[in-house]
């Protein structure tokens, strides 16, 4: 286990450096290209060679200088601040989705039919087909109507704050992950409950509920964790849109801003190589951490997974 974590962690710097370079190169090469497609920006854009630029950029890392954003603010401070705002949303939404999703998934499995209940199937089909932005629009419209025709501003639907401001963005972010987790929980539980040991357990006097919630559930944690990891990644991608709609000052909103196409004279200068490099590095780091955490938790929970992958390759279980 320890060896596995160390090995994984050792690969991180290399992957992050590659991501950093790709982000840097992307902004370095393509921002002028995007600018040149603006018919009203004249003159040829001459680029200096990239590698000296990149080395001068990373050589400042030692002084904790990660470059600056388009408005001159240090990238590190800006991104740290924005990441905090975004991770608040993600953590709350993910935690609620996990609890609610697992609850719904368990609820949908009944002894009599041994199938996932129809209501969950319908719910998950609808939920997975509803884009986050659409749910957000619906909610905004609803609360707008309540504000105009009802008692007034019940829940704020724009802006930032660690209070009621959280409710709508969290709700929107929760929808797809919740139904996804519920769906995976339900279907894997149904499969698991058909295994002989469940029958044996019931015949030994365990109730169906205890078999479902204690034994069978433990063995389906791995696929549920996969679903959770998938949901977390989905949420990060959704953030770009959701934060924009709810005007939440986070990473997603920032990505949307810096990548927004130039819509006017000289507007193409928002994207700096340092910003893009930092953004991509942070994103990749988040994905790597999610991946690592999923594997670790799955191993902690499911005893069958405590096998060294590399040992398994050689056919030797630890």
């Amino acid at each position: 286990m320890f060896r596995f974590i160390v090995r994984r962690l050792l690969t991180f710097p290399l992957i992050l450096l590659i991501a950093n370079f790709i982000g840097f190169a992307f902004a370095f090469y393509f921002e002028p290209v995007v600018a040149s497609s603006n018919p009203y920006i004249s003159g040829e854009i001459i680029l200096p060679p990239i590698f000296p630029e990149y080395f001068s950029y990373i050589s400042k890392f030692a002084n904790l200088d990660f470059g600056s954003t388009y408005n001159g603010a240090p990238v590190l401070a800006a991104i740290a601040h924005l990441s905090l705002n975004s991770s608040g949303l993600i953590v709350i939404a993910l935690a609620l989705s996990i609890v609610l999703g697992i609850f719904l998934g368990r609820l949908a499995v009944r002894q009599d039919s041994m199938k996932v209940s129809t209501w969950l199937t319908v719910l998950s089909t609808l939920g997975l087909a509803s884009p986050g932005f659409y749910i957000a629009i619906l909610l905004i419209t609803l609360f707008l109507l309540i504000t105009i025709y009802g008692p007034g501003l019940v829940i704020p639907f724009q802006g930032f704050g660690w209070d009621a401001h959280l409710i709508l963005p969290v709700l929107v972010l929760m929808v797809q992950p919740t139904v996804k987790i519920a769906q995976v929980t339900g279907s894997t539980l149904v499969d698991e409950l058909q295994k002989p040991y469940v029958k044996a357990g019931i015949s030994l006097g365990h109730t169906f509920r205890s078999m479902k919630n204690r034994f069978a559930f433990r063995s389906v944690v791995a696929p549920i964790l996969q679903a959770i990891a998938y949901s977390a990644r989905l949420m990060i991608a959704e953030l770009i849109i959701i934060e924009r709609l709810f005007n939440w000052p986070g990473l997603g909103n920032f990505i949307g801003t810096v990548l927004k196409p130039a819509t006017g004279f000289g507007a193409a200068t928002v994207l700096t190589p340092a910003t893009m490099a930092a953004l991509l590095t942070v994103l990749v780091l988040i994905f790597l951490l999610i991946d690592l955490l999923t594997i670790l938790i799955a191993r902690l929970v499911d005893p069958r997974l405590r096998v060294d992958v590399h040992a398994e390759d050689k056919g030797v279980a630890q």
């Binding site: 393509f30 770009i240 709609l245």
Partner: protein, 743 residues
Amino acid sequence: MSNLRQKLRHQNWTLIIGAVLVGFMILIAFIGPSLAPQDPMKENFALSVNGQIRTPPYPAFKIPGYLLGTDRWGRDLLSRILWGVRPTLIMVTAVAGFRLVLGIILGLFIGWAEGSRARRLDSVLSALLSIPVLIVALLGIYSIGVHKGLWAFIFGLGFTGWAETARMVSEQTRLVKRQTFVEAARALGAGERLILFNHILRQIMSLVWALLAFEISSTLLVAAELGFLGIYIGGGVWVEIFNFQVANVEGLPELGQMLASALVRIADPSAMLVIGSVIFTGILGFNLLGEGLRIELTQKEFGRRAGLLPQQINEWLDVHVYIQLRHWLERHGRTAGVVTFLIAATMGGWIYYQRNTYLFAKTDVVLQSQGDQLWSTELHDSYGTSYVPFSMETQPELKWQAQIPGGASGGPVVYADGTVVIAGRQNILMAFSPQGEIVWQVPLDATPIGTPALDAQGRIYVADVDGHVTAFDAQGKRLWNVEASSTRQATSGPIVSSSGMIYVTLIDAVSAISPDGVLIWRKTAADLFVDSPPRLSADESLVYLKDTALKAETGQIEKIQILPEGQILFTEPVFFTGADGRDYYRNGHAVMHWQKSETGLQVDPALTWEYASFVVFNPLYEGVLPNKLTWLFYTSEFSDGRMVWLDDQSRLIGNFEFPLMNSHIMAMGARGEAYLCGPTGLHIECVAALPGAPKALWTVSIDDGSRPIGGALVPGTLYVTSFDALSETGALYALSTKGDSQP
């Protein structure tokens, strides 16, 4: 009863609902545009509702004619949605098809691989699956460049989008390759490629429709999300609102792009809600359809060729169609190739013809200038067509130039023998030979205005600031002088009809003068200052001054209502005559042909282009060429010039940007080319711009720091006149092609 309930329960409702929703979307894609109540591109910057003037975005359900309201340019939302479904569906289907092909091919190989290679490929696949498509699509589309259009989207959305398909295909491949029939094929000596593509692929093909539906659904989702971020196909159109102020606005409707523009104010989400619902319907429909198909197909017995068609039909098709076709192709491959090529070439030719009909249209000149003079008035002829039936193909050079005392008052006029006549602001009328020698010069009573006019007999008419018109013969002998108005000055040069009647604009009025110098009528015809000459209708029964039509005989106003009053606010409508001899009306950026028939007024559908947000500036000149190509020329004191050509299907044939303010159109040539001149402050630059060509045919620079004020194109020579208000000087330039001289 219970039987029915049982039956209903066992129906594949997912498939049915999905099919209905998708069918609805496809139906809209097919017939939507014909159902649209309005032109999806028509802007409306002001509407008069119950006597109140309102500005866009107009709300839903409140304005008659705009059921779902409008976007911020005042374009009808319902019509835009009905039009927008088609391009969106085509785009997502193209992208989804690309992803599907890539996913199937890669999935087959990944599924076919064995051992450690399979594991490595699998981990690469799961790594790709874990990257959010939206972020990769953003980066991918940017690295290609949004302006590259559909290809940027296929690349950006196809970069990781195929991974899900590849995973499903590789799983299926793994299942199928363990079947006994694969082993049998191998035992019979079939190679890997044959097994993979002939046996395994055929098994998997039954999944294709389900996969395609899923792919379309997910592509639609990403396209919508990208639209939210302001990224959509083609990246919109760049327009100039003011000099050096440009905006990127949405052009022809497409759902993703409409979503981008819907987010104007969070306090009015109705547009966003409507467009979002349409997209949601599409995503849900395709998702349900895919899910339903998957259920339908997996319920069938595995190992059989599961397909949407019943087994018997599949077998019949196999025996009677596929196998026969394969045998035939094996024997007649070459013939089939040639036939396919011929069909493709014919279709390609047909499509080219359809898109470029104007190149093949007849170009008979219907309207001539009076007496076959080469250039008889400001806009070539009294109809104001600016059209000449020849071209100047090669770059001309300055052959001669002459200073005009006080600067030119307008452009020159040119006799059929090539003699050029021009009025100078220091009260002088001059005639030059084609070689540039002064033939004669005579004094004028007052400062001349605009371009003189020539009639069929060669008489010259000059209007002046005192509101008089003076006539001269071809030798410069003064014939008569008449007061067209005692209170108003002339604001344009005169025009002459084929019967010899002379018409001239006097601020807001038109005067008609007989050939022997008698004022016949004078009529106030405009609310504003007009500085362009009147135009004659094709049959010369009407005289147009902007959007007023006067009877040529009596000067009475002829009421011709082309559009309802409410639609002509700030659009500076004008009547004009095309070089094809028909009557037209321009309203804003839209041009429509009209004619009087026994049943009343007949107006054809308007032609227009993606002009979005030329709020302030309407075209300054407009015309229709003999081959039915409509042209609009935009220029002003504050903005660059732009020449736009439209064909008779309202397709944008050319959009030429002439980056000089205060530019001037000299003439329109036989190939539809525009001759434009504009001042840079140091030079006068002239270009010939062909419709559809990205670059000018030629460019020539004249060493003159003032601005062009008029011109004339005759065979072999382009005349340009200039005027500098500060120094009160100006010149006449003759630009000739090499070795060419006047006829």
